[in-house]
Amino acid sequence: MNAPGSREATRLPLSEKRIPDEVFAQMRAENLARWPTGAGVDFDAAVERHRSLPPHKQLAWVMRKADAERRCLTQPRGGFGTFELQKQLMQVLDRDGHADVVPTTTDSYTRNEHWHLAQKGIEETEKMGRSMLNGYPMVNYGVERAAELVDAINKPAIMLTGTAMPRLTGEIGYAGGYSGYLGSGIAYTVSYIKELSIEEGIRNYQYLDRLVAMYQDAGVELHRRQPGFLTGTNIPPSIAIITCVLDCLLAAAQGVKNYGLEMGQTLHLVQDAAATVVCRELCQDYLRRRGHEDVFTSVTLLHWMGAWPHDDAQSAALISYGGTLAAVAGANSVTTKSTHEAFGIPTPEINAEGLRMTRTAIYLARNIRLDGLPEFEQEKEWIRREVRAIVDKVLEMGDGDVAVGTIRAFEAGVLDIPWSPNRYVKSRILPARDADGCLRILDPGLMPFPRDVLEFNEAKLRRRAEKENVSYGPDLAVSSVYEMAEPIAKLLPDTWS
């Protein structure tokens, strides 16, 4: 199912170039024919539908507005296995959680385009009376049901579909009135799938971005978004931002005008604030350099993406701090988790509680900024240098084409992602937390960072090894994976040595 299959006819050589109209029409026809509900997509009707939505239900408008008013919005995740459960969930998140953006997470069969399995999951869910799927099977339910979900809430709806294969889900959701889609060719292919090549992932998302450009041409601005949190496991800011820049350039090349950039929180106040500023700045910088003058970009931080503690009290602190970090960083929005994170998908109520914790934390820190703080200014500079070294190299390797450069760079290990399940990624780079609580690069693998940057990272990590009296090496990375999940009494003992 991951193979290009029947698409041979429309297969162009890989490049960042905008897919020509006729080719795209052909691609769409083939795509929509893959599952019966594809026939429900009517582009003209979809354009009408979006035009009829009030601005506050259009995510592109909402993200621009949040940016203009310096607001930090909240958005949870959330998906259940049947339409009824999903509708209730979205209403609770909207009304009790005061979510500014309401999500629909798709289930993992849908993500992998195993729609037959998803159908079985729906049936099992109905039989068992509890969700047997970890999300909403958007494709199986089709356009009309999607529209009903959007109508059930008073906020913009976004698709969260963690997949390298977004083509049919995206068509259906957008046609139903969803105004945002999270996912991108590089980020999700390296973190959500084992056998699919990066090239196929990029091609799949070029389709989605091209679709959004088609809406744009028809006068409907839709929001696209990149999940720079990747494998969620101790991703240093530079690694996230590198993928943000590249995915963003790929989307802009297809004609996307409203693009969000996401990063998992490092949980270090200064590092997260620096990352947010640099992400915004460098994406715009590279966009302009490559002639994309009018792309709006927003930045979203995500609540801690690594392993969570099993104590609700500890989790509540992580959630609240996540709001604080996003507010102080000046992020446009924050994607929230709940106290159930370590255990399983949260109930609607627990999910809404996480939203209110986060919202309160944002309110409390809404006016704090770190501009002028020496450490903040330095951290920004380090991140800039790490990002530029790699992105410039990728562009060079592609002879000016981002898509081609990306593939070549992954092959060479110039681009690399920690803890990736994808066999086309070297996954030799290894991050760890330093003594101050910042994420640093322990082993760069083959990524060509400048020497002084690597020395800086190493010095920081050696200081931690010394302080904790452990050996400098991969164990630092493994213990950093567990760290936030440890009982607090272990992290900050209540005894004296």
Binding site: H114, K194, P421
Partner: protein
């Protein structure tokens, strides 16, 4: 541990991409002297069995984190039996079901499916290694008692 190292197949079942815990577990098995056959993320049930047969494995450790393990793992023991792996040691672990459910219920559900042990969310590698040692030792004792 015996001179000839035991072979253990690991992997993440179904459409599940959560590789981190499984990879750390695999590293720990190797460090503890086991021979690990690591199938990685998104592994169909059949691939586990195939690998176990091919490598003459002593145990299969199935990870499932994403919640759909309850669907993916049904019939896993039957597949083993069909393949002639009648009493291979079978463990499953991770976040096995959708949502926060009472662990004893979940454990029961998976033991009834034929797993020898099920590991609750967040189980540490030290625990898993201790289980393996205990269960292999028990098997050795049984094997000595029954004439081959």
């Amino acid at each position: 541990m015996s001179a000839h190292p035991r072979t253990i197949v690991t992997g993440v079942i179904g459409s599940d991409t959560h590789i981190v815990g499984n990879r750390i577990l695999t590293m720990a098995l190797e460090k503890a002297g086991y021979k690990a056959v690591a199938l990685g993320a998104l592994t169909p049930a059949a691939d586990f069995i195939k690998a176990a047969v091919e490598t003459d494995a002593d145990a299969i450790l199935v990870s499932s984190l994403y919640g759909q393990g309850e669907l993916d793992c049904r019939g896993f023991r039957d597949l083993c039996v069909e393949a002639g792996l009648d009493d291979i040691l079978l463990y499953v672990g991770g976040n096995l079901v959708v949502g926060k459910q009472a662990w004893p219920d979940v454990e029961k559900r998976f033991l009834e499916m034929g797993f020898d042990r099920a590991a609750a969310p967040g189980t540490r590698v030290e625990t898993v290694i201790a289980w393996l040692e205990h269960d292999f030792a028990a098997r050795d004792r049984n094997a000595q008692k029954e004439p081959a």
